[in-house]
């Protein structure tokens, strides 16, 4: 099933809570912005992953927990954690 703005945001909150070992209630949404990403890895490639070089439309989801901000990126096909502790993760896709 694909994502929309709300389902991607909820999935990002769940993922961040899991990674940090906190409850979802401790994760807040500081902003969800529609934006273009440079490619179909949403500018957050994982490892040696190759991606299509087409501008992809999706959402940047900014979350806050433990006083820090975290960035997720999503489009209708996928959700990625961008630079979580220095690395990108494909959460779902």
């Amino acid at each position: 099933m694909g994502f929309d703005r709300d389902s991607a945001t909820e999935a990002a909150k769940r993922d961040l809570a899991r990674r940090l070992g906190v409850s979802e209630g401790e994760v807040s949404v500081s902003g969800v912005t529609a934006r273009d990403f440079p490619d179909m890895s949403l500018g957050a490639p994982v490892g040696d992953e190759a991606s299509a070089m087409m501008i992809a439309t999706g959402w940047e989801i900014d979350l806050k927990a433990n006083g820090k901000t975290y960035e997720y990126r999503a489009d209708k096909y996928q959700l990625r954690a961008k630079g979580f502790e220095g690395k990108n993760y494909l959460v779902k896709g």
Partner: protein, 469 residues
């Protein structure tokens, strides 16, 4: 010279002059037919246009019965036999010197049934664009020479930029001029190494590669035998490369959506064969292994006799892979050009490499993206040493899943412009080597000042120049 000899020579001279006139006219007709052949393809409607409205052309075609002195008959009606069609006994083209109503003149000849087999107006074969004119752009109507009747053609600024939608006129690959020479060939196979291709799309189906009946199914030592009727899916190790994303279908349309079929867009090649190689998944990303599997498949198919000459690679990453490099080198050894997107990070590939476009191999062509004003697209990577050419890549209309069309941007859209032109060149010069093909593409760019120091050739690709037009 005695009178008898003089008459003999005079008669010979008259015959020779008449023969020369006939041969000349047949040559002119052949030229006309050649021109007409390059314009419409199969879907073009043909409407007979009486040439009565045209000056200096025979108005009638009449076939006389055998042995009839048709010149005498014509002269009696104040008509002139302009030409005899030698391959059809008794058939002549007649110029009505009175310029009377053509239908009446035809009826006049038809009434002489003891002399005439048939008579008909001389029709000029012409495209009927009366239906399509409504859907064509106004800017396009005055000069339709060589243009396809596809209704979205006016959106395809990359092929023919008239300055539409704020663009710069002639900031394009000059497809109309190129098509005067060739519109592609079904003998040329281009592999689209991507998310697959919707091979059922109504604007692509005719130009999709299908495994020939005499070519056995693909057999791989590890993967086993795969029914690769429509291509190859390395993502699923299967033979069905149906696109579930849309990106590959978009690239395929740029290269070879069927042209002049009254549907959607026109590809750079009106005729070509597109072989889908799927390795990117539904999200538009994939791994190097699957890319290598796909390239290996392409090479094996080339070795099995498929005339696969070009691979389009509208994807990439910043991770170098020697295995991928070796696979692309193997493609080079097999004579396959590898056209790669330069990347969309707005960065300099000379400093921060992007692969596979940065592999320094004899078959790799790296492509940057331009907008409709001949400016490097804001997202496009560049590189004075590592990005070879630039091509249109912003706001490109092409085919999409479900018989749809969509505008998309990226060096993904620029690479297939180059792959498409490569195929067009090969349609014209099938025996051109890969090295010469690559060289031809690079030497045919239109210089653009702002691209100096940005791409190797400092210019934008020009299909017409690449074809020597």
């Amino acid at each position: 010279m005695n009178r008898g000899n003089f008459l003999v020579h005079l008669m010979i001279a008259v015959v020779l002059v008449a023969l020369a006139a006939v041969v000349g006219q047949i040559g002119r007709w052949r030229s006309m037919l050649k021109v007409q052949d390059t314009t419409p393809k199969k879907a073009a409607k043909i409407t007979p246009v009486k040439v009565a409205e045209l000056d200096g052309r025979p108005e009638l075609l009449v076939r006389f019965k055998s042995g009839i002195n048709y010149k005498q008959v014509a002269a009696s009606l104040n008509d002139r036999v302009e030409d005899q069609i030698e391959s059809v006994d008794g058939l002549v083209a007649i110029d009505d010197l009175d310029d009377a109503d053509v239908e009446a003149t035809v009826r006049q000849y038809q009434s002489m049934s003891e002399l005439v087999d048939y008579a008909e107006p001389n029709f000029q074969i012409a495209l009927d664009d009366s239906v399509d004119r409504n859907s064509r752009p106004a800017a396009f109507a005055p000069n339709p020479v060589g243009a396809p009747n596809d209704p979205l053609f006016s959106d395809q600024w990359a092929l023919n930029n008239t300055g539409q939608n704020g663009g710069k006129a002639n900031a394009h690959i000059d497809a109309l001029k190129a098509w005067a020479k060739t519109q592609g060939s079904a003998e040329v196979v281009v592999a689209v190494l991507d998310t697959g291709v919707d091979y059922t799309h109504k604007d692509l189906a005719e130009n999709m590669w299908i495994r020939p009946a005499n070519l056995p199914e693909y057999t791989d030592g590890e993967l086993g035998t795969i029914d690769d009727l429509h291509g190859f899916d390395a993502n699923a190790n299967a033979g069905d490369p149906m696109d579930d994303n849309g990106h590959g279908t978009h690239c395929a349309g740029i290269i070879g959506a069927e042209g002049n079929n009254g549907e959607g867009i026109s590809g750079i090649n009106w005729n070509v064969k597109i072989m889908p190689l799927k390795f990117l998944g539904r999200g538009g990303f994939g791994d190097v292994k699957d890319a290598i599997e796909s390239i290996n498949y392409a090479i094996q198919r080339k070795k099995a006799g498929v005339n696969l000459r070009v691979i389009n690679a509208s994807w990439g990453s910043t991770q170098r892979s020697k295995a991928l490099e070796d696979a692309i080198k193997a493609a080079s050894d097999a004579g396959i050009l590898f056209v790669a997107a330069a990347g969309n990070s707005s960065t300099d590939n000379d400093r921060r490499a992007h692969y596979p476009s940065n592999y320094d191999l004899p078959n790799v062509l790296s492509v940057a993206a331009l907008d409709r004003n001949d400016k490097l697209a804001s997202f496009s990577n560049y590189g004075a040493k590592t990005v070879h050419v630039a091509a249109p890549g912003r706001e490109i209309t092409s085919t999409w899943l479900g018989d749809q069309y969509r505008e998309a941007s990226g060096t993904s859209m620029a690479a297939p412009q180059v792959a498409g032109i490569a195929a067009l060149i090969l349609a014209s010069e099938p025996k051109l080597s890969m090295a010469k093909l690559r060289e031809r593409i690079m030497k045919s760019a239109d210089p653009i000042d702002t691209l100096t120091g940005k791409v190797v050739v400092g210019g934008r690709l020009n299909a017409a120049k690449a074809l020597g037009e």
